[in-house]
């Protein structure tokens, strides 16, 4: 495997630096830090701040979604490693415009611990609420939903919570809406090839050229089945069927659908999969109200794809379709 970097230990920070230089209209490095990114300017008084964070190596997740109608500040760890308590505290303070801050992050042990500690330490300073994102159906059964990891579906909650905050709703309301989005969101992925951690220099897992792993996590966590590489339609079915089993969608339901590349998989292949997924949804009487196809949550150069369904109601749909902008997604 090959990788572009100067010093592997600078990988995360150099990427953030370049991101901020390329798109200063959306991103700034918070003064005195190399890992905390916020919207340019001061936090808006009266607006609930939205903060996220997690490991680097997943762009556009997490920090790419800083922007009007999205997130206000993000703490970025090393590649696939949690940001520190101190970086998270800085992100919270930066995003705080005196109406409280909502913390939205993926359900990973290190992130949960560090976000909890940061909000605990700032208890007297900033009112924080938390919605933990856990959309990956492959990572635990429905009966143990609290153990599921957060994957690509996180972006829908970023968008919806960001819009609710932008609309001026209070912290309790923004949290309620974010929780509803998180609860209605399910993802399932298939990995074809691994990625490489810059500081390790080896692939994160081994997989034969003619194999795929269904349900693999975005850091290479083991999935539910390793099989021979199947035709696109079968791969689509391997993702959509478990989602439809996991979420209660009646005929006539409206959904947002994300067909996401884990990094190396090209747009063409996403659209080939989209055909089959759309057919399956039409068959079951479900309407795709909001399609999204592309690279929205990645694991660097991993080849593979994930599919996310979000059950919509009028409220979620209105926030999902409200104007918002960042370098990677404009609505």
């Amino acid at each position: 495997m090959k990788k572009i970097s100067n010093d592997p230990f600078d990988y995360a920070e150099e990427a953030l630096k370049g991101l901020v230089r390329a798109y200063p209209q959306y991103y700034q490095l918070v003064e005195g830090t190399t890992r905390v990114i916020s919207r340019p300017g001061e936090a808006k008084p009266g607006k609930v701040g939205i903060v996220s964070g997690g490991g680097s190596g997943h762009l556009p997740i997490f920090t790419g979604y800083v922007g009007p109608g999205f997130l206000d500040a993000v703490a970025n760890g090393d590649v696939f490693a949690s940001p520190s308590v101190s970086q998270i505290s800085t992100a919270i303070r930066t995003a705080s415009g005196d109406a409280g801050v909502l913390l939205l992050y993926g359900n990973y042990g290190g992130d949960v611990m560090n976000f909890d500690m940061a909000s605990d330490m700032l208890e007297d300073e900033v009112q924080c609420a938390t919605v933990v994102l856990a959309d990956d159906v492959a990572s635990a059964p429905l009966s143990e939903r609290h153990k599921r990891r957060g994957v690509a579906g996180m972006v829908f909650t970023f968008k919806i919570a960001g819009a609710a905050a932008e609309a001026g709703l209070n912290l309790a309301e923004v949290s309620r809406i974010a929780q509803k989005a998180a609860d209605g969101c399910r993802s399932m992925g298939v990995a074809l090839s691994p990625c490489m951690l810059p500081q390790v220099g080896k692939p994160t897992f081994e997989i034969a050229d003619d194999e795929m792993e269904v349900g693999m996590g975005i850091h290479g966590e083991p999935g539910v089945a390793r099989t021979k590489l199947a035709p696109a339609n079968d791969i689509a079915d391997a993702m959509i069927e478990p989602l439809l089993k996991d979420i209660d969608l009646r005929r006539g339901s409206r959904v947002a659908l994300l067909v996401n590349s884990l990094g190396a998989t090209p747009a063409e292949e996403l659209f080939i999969l989209y055909n089959r997924i759309a057919d399956r949804l039409v068959d079951t009487g479900i309407e795709i109200a909001f399609p999204l196809v592309g690279r929205y949550a990645t694991s660097m150069e991993m080849a593979g794809v994930s599919t996310t369904l979000l059950a919509l109601d009028d409220e979620l749909e209105s926030f999902l379709t409200a104007p918002a902008a960042c370098a990677f997604w404009k609505v």
Partner: protein, 203 residues
């Protein structure tokens, strides 16, 4: 007799730093056999940073502990650093608004810190971690109100816990992966507690 004040905190920071400057290598070597080998440096960095702010710590004990927690979180994000931050945050909340805590409250404080660490760190008693050492301290400190007696009892308790667990396997963290190899070795977190207590007792 006075209780725990910001002044005691200042004394404690310097005392622990003195022993860490001398013995951090021991921890690093031990930790390197089972973990990532950064424990000695983590603690040294944390206490050097605390030494740098100790004279500016406020008299409100809660605020002083919070300033310490914040400072440690800035210089260390390793797992043991996090445990230290959690403990300092627990102390901060427990003593918010007061300038003095009774020494008889130490058992309760350590118990509360233990509960928080166990919940956040997902470790249980018996896993061969610093929690087992702290449980030993709570047991003997209960009902004591003389700081020297508490310290002496705590040191003995940690020694016995180390003896008790030496030949057991680690059940959590990276050491768990080398469970067999951890048999016969002291848990680095417990030894860290032992060294810090030795610092406070100046032995």
């Amino acid at each position: 007799m006075t209780g725990l004040t910001t002044q005691s905190l200042r004394y404690g920071i310097s005392a622990v730093l003195t022993v860490l400057e001398r013995r951090h290598d021991e921890l690093t070597v031990l930790d390197g056999k089972l973990g990532d080998g950064d424990l000695g440096i983590t603690l040294l960095k944390a206490f050097r940073a605390l030494e740098g702010i100790k004279d500016t710590l406020p008299l409100d004990l809660g605020a002083a502990f919070m300033a310490c927690a914040t400072r440690v979180s800035e210089v260390s994000s390793s797992s043991f650093g996090n445990l230290l931050v959690m403990s300092l945050t627990v102390a901060s909340k427990r003593y918010k608004g007061s300038q003095e805590a009774h020494w008889s409250d130490m058992a309760g404080l350590v118990q509360q810190a233990m509960d928080t660490m166990s919940q956040r760190g997902k470790a249980n008693l018996g896993d061969k971690t610093v929690l087992d050492a702290l449980a030993g301290i709570v047991e003997v400190a209960e009902g004591l109100s003389d700081p020297d007696a508490i310290l002496e009892q705590a040191m003995q308790a940690v020694s016995s816990v180390l003896d008790e667990f030496r030949d057991r396997p680690s059940r959590i963290g990276r050491a768990r992966i080398f469970a067999e190899r951890s048999i016969g070795l002291d848990d680095p977190g417990m030894v860290a507690a032992q060294i810090m207590l030795a610092g406070l007792a100046q032995v």
